[in-house]
Symmetry: C2
Subunit: 136 residues, 2 copies
DNA sequence: AATTGAAATGTTATGGTATAACATTTCAAT
DNA sequence: ATTGAAATGTTATACCATAACATTTCAATT
């Protein structure tokens, strides 16, 4: 019986590219950057790798950007909250346990059985907000 | 000086179509359904109407579905939480004030200036879960 | 070492989502 | 009547994602 999970070269290369960026990465950008390594790569090549990496909890899809970001809590079971900066475009993942607990309570009260939760906040991150303070 | 907001026939027709459904509606489905009324309608026609209606707070974009849903709290300033049922595909909007307050507190603590918040929960709604209980 | 079957990848084609760019029309204020 | 902004018409294209089928890989079994 096989191990059930194979991090093949293509999958590993896609994962590396995503992990190498703090910004969300687009599928077709990945495709362009994979091509030098895998000249025969096509959209399906990338999307299959992405599907696999999402299933394994190694990356997340950023719904509001149609893009992908590395998971900061791989392995641990978790719900994620993504903070997306409009200026530097970096995406930060937070566990936000209090928020998630409050959310779980709300779902229970509404008798809604949640299978997946996505919280995406667009705004200005602390690194981009700080410099503004110092401007004359 | 003009009123600044004009709910033109096209915009009104798109709004009516979205309001007429408790499920999220796709842009190209709207286009098909608008065509009998506005035979010259094109993608841009629909997307412009959608942009306008979102700006006015009359509809929301459901990021995880690439689709649109009528706002249940139009007029009132609010953050929304969308409950999306995998079975009946209905989308319910909730104010979820406790969740939003907890979220706001979290953002403040992280010094992240939020401009827009999107919470989308996929799962099974109470109407679809209830009948299962009664099954033999 | 050959067999085999599932998983992964290659390949072609197409469908679905969204916007850019420029032309024309509408419409209310002057 | 003029005018200028907002809205709409129109064409083209870019971007995002999957279906369907062929072929290859690879580890377990014989
Ligand atoms: Zn994560
Ligand atoms: Zn930033
Ligand atoms: Zn709303
Ligand atoms: Zn349901």
């Amino acid at each position: 019986m096989t191990r059930g999970v194979r991090l093949t070269p293509i999958r590993y290369q896609v994962l590396e590219l995503i992990w190498g960026s703090h910004k969300a990465v687009k599928a077709y950008d990945l495709l362009d950057r994979i091509k030098p390594l895998q000249p025969m790569a096509k959209p399906a090549t990338v999307y299959r790798a992405l599907d696999f990496l999402i299933e394994q909890g190694l990356i997340h899809r950023v719904e509001s950007l149609n893009a992908f970001i590395g998971c900061s809590y791989s392995g641990q079971q978790h719900e994620q909250l993504l903070l997306i900066c409009k200026l530097c475009h970096e995406v930060e993942e937070r566990a936000a346990e209090k928020v998630m607990k409050t959310l779980a309570r709300e779902m229970k009260q509404l008798a809604f059985v949640a299978h997946s939760k996505s919280i995406e906040i667009h705004g200005i991150c602390i690194k981009c907000a700080q410099p503004m303070v110092n401007q004359t």
